[in-house]
Structures are given as C-alpha cells and as structure tokens.
C-alpha cells in the first residue's frame, strides 16, 4: 500500500468517526431502546394471552407468533414502508422501523416469556392460591418476579440481536450507524474501511450490553444459591 493511500484511508477514517457516532446516537440507539421497550409490553400481553385457557385469547396470540416468526423482518419492514403506501398509508421512516422492530421482537420475546412462565412449578400457583390470592395477584407477586429473573439472559441476548437488526433502518433511508457508513462508503469508494468502522461501533456497544446483562443476572439471581 502506497503511503499516499494509507494517508487517505487514515483521513477518511478520522472524518467518518463522528458522523457514524452521530448516526448511532440519533437513530440506532433510540430505535433499539424504543422498539425493545414497546416490544416487552406487547410481548407480556401476547405471552399471557398465549397461556390463557380461553381459546379467543390463546389462538390469536399463537397466530400472531406464527406469522411474525415465519416471515423475515426485512420483508415485514418493506411491506410497511413500500407496501402500505399503495393502500394510502404512508408512514415516515423512523416510525416504520420502530413498528417493524416492535412487531417482530414482541413475537420472539413473548415466546421467551411464555416458556419461562410455563417452566415455573405448578406448586407456586398453588401456594399463592392457598393464601387466598387472586390469579392476578399470584401472577404479579409470585410468578412474574421469578419468570423475569429466568428470562433475563434470553431477553438480554434478544436485545443485543435487536440492536444489530436495527441496521435494517438504512434500507428504508434512515441515516443510522449503518446508513451513514453506507453513504460515506459510496461517496469515498472505500466500503471496506467504512463497514469495518461500523462493525467496530456495533461490537463496542454489544460488548457493553453483554456486561450489563451479566450484572443484571447477578442482581436478580441473589436468591438462588
């Protein structure tokens, strides 16, 4: 590699750091946090419906999970962004990505929640009922606190995966971390450099998330010695 080229690459590298960071702070992180927060709420409702004895709650829940898990999120995203306008529904890119990520994430998270709630011994319900608790009280005081603890590791990796999936935002024109990298790569003709910088940012954040996840696990795990 000539010294001239090395200098040019170094220059592009330095100049790309801040725009990429901006893309991450303005889009990648907010998209991930908002979508994950919303998806946890929906996931809990979908999981509870999926566990219900009532078919009119359980069947729609199972149907939803089936559809969402059986189709690629990229296709779902394109249906919302490029498909819905033909029905007269035009959504800006940011909400589109939030909706697509939430819809998909809620399905996966609900399956995690459903299986952890199911994995708790029946005796825990019995113990709650025997004290005269209502089903809702048993759920809130006995089942969910325990299920939350068990589901932290899988939900944590779900969030890490969501953080990376948010890069699909670039495909519906948002200048997120990946989107900015794409733009600069196109204008400088240095895709290798730019995508490696982008990968470095994703890796850095995911590493931090992994550490946080372990902390959370330890905090909630204190009763199971």
């Amino acid at each position: 590699m000539s010294q001239e080229r090395a200098e040019r690459l170094w220059e592009i590298f330095l100049h790309s750091l801040w725009p990429l960071l901006q893309g991450m702070l303005k889009y990648t992180i907010p998209l991930s946090i908002i979508s994950f927060g919303l998806s946890l709420i929906f996931a809990l409702l979908i999981a509870l419906a999926g566990l219900s004895h009532q078919p009119y709650l359980r069947l729609p829940s199972r149907f939803y999970v089936w559809i969402v898990r059986g189709t690629p999120i990229l296709v779902q995203l394109f249906i919302i962004f490029y498909g819905l306008p033909s029905l007269g529904i035009v959504l800006p890119a940011f909400p589109t990505v939030v909706i697509a990520l939430t819809v998909s994430e809620a399905a996966y998270c609900s399956e995690i929640m459903r299986s952890t709630i199911k994995s708790l011994p029946q005796g825990q319900w019995k113990a709650g009922y025997s004290l005269g608790m209502s089903p809702f009280q048993v759920l809130r005081r006995v089942i969910l606190p325990q299920a939350a603890r068990i589901s932290i590791p899988p939900l944590g990796s779900q969030f890490i995966s969501l953080f990376k999936t948010s890069s699909l935002a670039a495909l519906v024109t948002l200048p997120d971390l990946f989107g900015v990298a794409k733009q600069i790569a196109a204008s400088t003709f240095e895709p290798m450099l730019l995508y490696i910088v982008a990968a470095g940012y994703y890796l850095a954040i995911c590493s931090v998330l992994t550490v946080l996840q372990h902390r959370l696990e330890n905090k909630f795990g204190r009763y199971s010695l």
């Binding site: 011994p121 005796g123 825990q124 019995k126 113990a127 009922y129 025997s130 004290l131 005269g132 608790m133 209502s134 089903p135 009280q137 005081r141 006995v142 606190p145 325990q146 603890r149 204190r222 009763y223 199971s224 010695l225």
Partner: protein
C-alpha cells in the same frame, strides 16, 4: 365446623374421590392415612379448593359451597373460601425469591392488606414460634428441608385459618429432619388448632390424632380413634396397610404376625 358430603373428583377418566363424607369438629386433629393413590392428596386439595370437586358439598365455618352441574364457582367465592383454610404442602412450595419473613407476611400484605409494620411483627412472632427466629432473612434455598417446611407452616398460620391442612408434610424430608416438623405440628394441636393431616408417620398419628381415617381407592373405608384403627380395626385392608409400618406401629404388626 368442617362438613363434607358426597364429594366426587375425577381426573379425566380416573375417579379419584368417589363420595367422601367427613365431619371434623373444632380443635380436632384428623389424620388421613392410606396407600399412595388412595386420594388423600386430592381430598386435601379439594378441601382448600385447589382442586374443584365435581359434586358434593363442603361447609366450613358456616360457609357452604355446593358443587355439581351448573354450579360454576366464581373466583371471588373460591378466594374467600381459601382464605379460611391454610395448606402445608409436601414440597413446601415456598416462594424462592422471598426471604422466610417475606414468605410468611406475603398473604397478610397482599391478601389481607395489612400494613408492612404490623405484618412484619406478626411474621417475626410466627417464625419465632416455629423456632426460626434467627433465620427470618434467609432465602428458602439457604434453609434445610425441615426449616423450609416450618416456614411453610408459619406462612399458612399467618392467615389465621379456621383449619390447617397438611399434605404429607414430612414425606419429602430426610429422616433426621422429620422430628422438628412434627414437633411444631404437635404444638399446634395442643393450642387447639383444627388440623387435617395426610401422613405416613404412624407414630405421630397415634400420639397426636384424635381421629384416624383410612382412605382407599377414593373412599373412606375405615374411621375411628387411633386406638381403634391401630388396634381393633377388623378391616383387612387397614391391617395389611399398617403391617408395612412395623417400626412405627409395633402393636398392629404384632397383631398381624399373631394371626
């Protein structure tokens, strides 16, 4: 004070309770014995309405519940009935995410809406009573099996139930831990609590029981005071069953070997 009549319960095709009639007087300790699968556990679960009987009536302390076709119980009714009964499970079912004290006061705080200070006071007193005053802040996983079971008893007592049900409370314990649990139960009978205890501890049954009922294949096939059941019963099945507990019941075994 507890009257049940014509109680029936099936799981799928299997009829587990086939018409149970039983009256329990206040302050009485009723011991339920019988082979595994005889329906002891199901009977206790029905008495706490953790299982809903298909037919029959249960009357506890003036609250009468009738079961049968078209008698769908509303959850409110079940809850108010369950609050009158306490249950101690074979495998304790303590809440693993709460300390001993939190386990005991959970019902008081959540169901009876006591404030935390009063509930804590009562919880501490109850744990003291079952000999666990020093362990109030331990989590269940940090306690021995016998200690866990005693927390379970304190948790049930906290709700001041009219009747306390024990579903084989010592069957899951190491032999050396059985005594401490039975001691607490004995103390309760002395205080005049009304107990119904399913157990395989025949020595305990003889010493503490006011009355022993023998269950087999979903019916009560013999019923009497301990002297009668362990000594005089002419019921062949009872004597066969008791002969398996030779160390716990020398009397019955000598009678059988004498035959």
């Amino acid at each position: 004070m507890l009257k049940i009549s014509e109680l029936h319960k099936s799981f799928g095709q299997t009829e587990v309770l086939r018409g149970i009639d039983l009256h329990v007087a206040k302050g009485q300790t009723t011991i339920v014995i019988g082979p595994s699968g005889s329906g002891k556990s199901t009977l206790l679960n029905c008495l706490n309405l953790l299982e809903i009987p298909e037919a029959g009536t249960i009357e506890l302390d003036g609250l009468r519940m009738t079961f049968g076709e078209g008698e769908n119980k509303r959850i409110r009714e079940l809850i108010s009935y369950r609050q009158k009964t306490g249950m101690v499970f074979q495998s304790h079912h303590l809440f693993p995410h709460r300390t001993a004290l939190e386990n005991v006061i959970e019902g008081l705080v959540v169901v009876k809406r006591w404030n935390r200070i009063d509930a804590t006071k009562r919880g501490k007193a109850l744990l003291e009573k079952v000999g666990l005053g020093e362990f109030i802040d331990r989590f269940p996983a940090q306690l021995s099996g016998g200690q866990q079971q005693r927390v379970g008893i304190a948790r049930a007592l906290a709700m001041e139930p009219a009747i306390l049900l024990f579903d084989e409370p010592t069957s899951a314990l190491d032999p050396e831990l059985v005594g401490e649990v039975l001691l607490v139960m004995k103390e309760l009978t002395r205080e005049g609590m009304t107990l119904v205890v399913a157990t395989h501890e025949m020595k305990f049954a003889r010493e503490v029981g006011d009355r022993v009922i023998f269950m087999e294949k979903g019916v009560i096939s013999d019923d009497g005071n301990p002297n009668y059941i362990f000594g005089e019963s002419r019921n062949e099945r009872v004597r066969q069953f008791l002969s398996r507990f030779e160390t716990g019941n020398e009397l019955a075994s000598t009678r059988i070997s004498a035959n």
